[in-house]
């Protein structure tokens, strides 16, 4: 099992200047099911594939509303993500209490980033094996997509995909990048679902049961019901 002798804890650098524990955590993100986010200044769409533990269990949700205009999708260790989602929600409630305004996606992302980064520096603990895609909007910036990874890096993206087989989704999004910049919300949903189906297991159709969808438009985060998702899937 040993890959090398520098990966036993987070405090040991490899001679190449790498932190293997953190890199392993990044790998955990790739084990999670796919999350796709894309959009433009006016609207963004978040789409995700859900999984279930076994045929007897229910689907595990991957999209979480943080406040009325910010939502987050997670990929990786789901229990780690629960802590981070809780952190986001609590900060959001606090911000609203103090400033009378819901927290902006960028503020929330940098908060998560700080928390993730700290866990890569302390011997007691481990990095969170989870990637977050935070979508939302603020008056000053319009709609935003922000992606975090276990190292604490935050990137603002035009569009992104994380999780298992996300490369094919990214390729699809790259192809439609120009189109996305001027697309209406329906068009963006269309592209997002197409990208998501690229990442789906071969020969399987997307179903409304296994698929989650949310949009941010005119400063409002809306999570779509399975019925609504089905309507969009039928249009593909």
């Amino acid at each position: 099992m040993f890959r090398n002798q520098y990966d036993q804890d987070m405090l040991t650098w490899s001679p190449q200047g790498r932190l293997h524990q953190v890199e392993y955590a990044m790998e955990a993100v790739k084990q999670g099911s796919t999350v796709v986010a894309c959009g433009n200044q006016n609207c963004v769409v978040l789409a995700a594939l859900k999984r279930k533990q076994s045929k007897l269990s229910s689907m595990q949700g991957k999209l979480f509303g943080v406040n009325e205009r910010v939502g987050v999708a997670v990929s990786g260790l789901s229990t780690d993500s629960a802590t981070l989602v809780k952190l986001l929600r609590e900060e959001s409630v606090r911000e609203e209490f103090v400033f009378g305004r819901v927290a902006s996606p960028s503020k929330l992302a940098s908060l998560v980033s700080k928390s993730l980064q700290i866990s890569t520096r302390e011997s007691a603990g481990r990095p969170c094996g989870v990637g977050l895609v935070i979508v939302g909007s603020s008056e000053d910036t319009g709609c935003q997509i922000l992606q975090t990874c276990p190292s604490g890096d935050v990137c603002q993206m035009w569009c992104t995909a994380i999780g298992a087989r996300s490369q094919s989704a990214r390729t699809h999004l790259e192809k439609h990048l120009d189109e996305l910049k001027v697309a209406t919300v329906n068009k963006v949903i269309h592209i997002a679902l197409r990208a998501l189906s690229e990442s789906n297991v071969d020969s399987e159709e997307l179903t409304s049961e296994a698929c989650e969808l949310a949009t941010v438009e005119s400063n409002l985060y809306v999570s779509k019901s399975p019925e609504e998702v089905q309507v969009y899937l039928d249009q593909l």
Binding site: N67, K86, R89, V93, R94, E96, F97
Partner: protein, 233 residues
């Protein structure tokens, strides 16, 4: 006259000229019907003989089926509402559904009693639709005693309005068997007219009530607002 020496002996007098409380006045009122509830409040904010502003809204939507109105010390009322809103959100995150008005009513009581010895100087009414869709009104004192009723009025105009409501809306006692509905028999429109009359009347005699009255009307379709001008003097 205050004696500096005596004061010093008693432990220095700390706050020469301030009180943590103020009374910003205002009247709030709610009426519950069989399938609706109306919550109303005037929009004046006063301090002593000053009118601070004529457009201070005393009513807030706390969750899908719950409205809350408060008179009294505005800073306390606003803080109380903010605290409760934050807790409603947390409730929603934890339970994956919005808080109902009956649960909210209990939470408000708990929150008020928590500050029993430094109370929120706010006089509150909670209005909402209960699990069966019936109108519900909860009326409070400043330290959390509360009761579910079908109508109530609080704040500076209480003494003027409450007798009118008693006269117009008093229904069968809850002790009578077989139980009769305690909701007011008025139709929604009749109740709206009654409330407007009440505020117009209170504004005639109470200097802390006036400028305008806002009515939030909640029924199965949702919430809508009406506003009526009152005396501005």
């Amino acid at each position: 006259m205050f004696d500096a020496r005596e004061d010093a002996l008693a432990g220095a007098r700390q706050h020469a000229n301030w009180s943590p409380y103020d009374n910003n006045g205002g009247t709030v009122l709610a009426v519950a019907g069989e399938s609706y509830v109306i919550c109303a409040g005037d929009t004046r904010m006063s301090s002593g003989y000053n009118i601070l502003t004529r457009k201070f809204e005393k009513i807030d939507k706390m969750s899908g089926k719950t409205l809350m109105a408060s008179a009294g010390f505005a800073a306390d009322a606003v803080t109380l509402k903010k605290t409760l809103k934050a807790r409603c959100k947390q409730y929603e995150f934890q339970n994956k559904r919005e808080i109902g008005c009956v649960a909210f009513a209990q939470m408000l009581s708990n929150t008020l009693y928590y500050r029993r010895f430094f109370p929120y100087y706010a006089f509150n009414i909670v209005a909402g639709l209960d699990a069966e869709g019936k109108g519900a009104v909860f009326t409070y004192d400043a330290v959390g005693s509360y009761e579910r009723t079908n109508y109530s009025c609080q704040g500076s105009g209480q003494a003027l309005i409450m007798p009118v409501l008693d006269n117009q809306l008093k229904t069968v006692s809850p002790l009578v068997l077989p139980a009769a509905s305690s909701a007011t028999p008025l139709s929604e429109q009749e109740a709206i007219d009654l409330i407007k009359d009440c505020f117009a009347t209170a504004a005639e005699r109470d200097i802390y009530t006036g400028d305008s009255v806002e009515l939030w009307i909640m029924n199965a379709e949702g919430v809508r607002k009406e506003e009526m001008a009152l005396r501005a003097d």
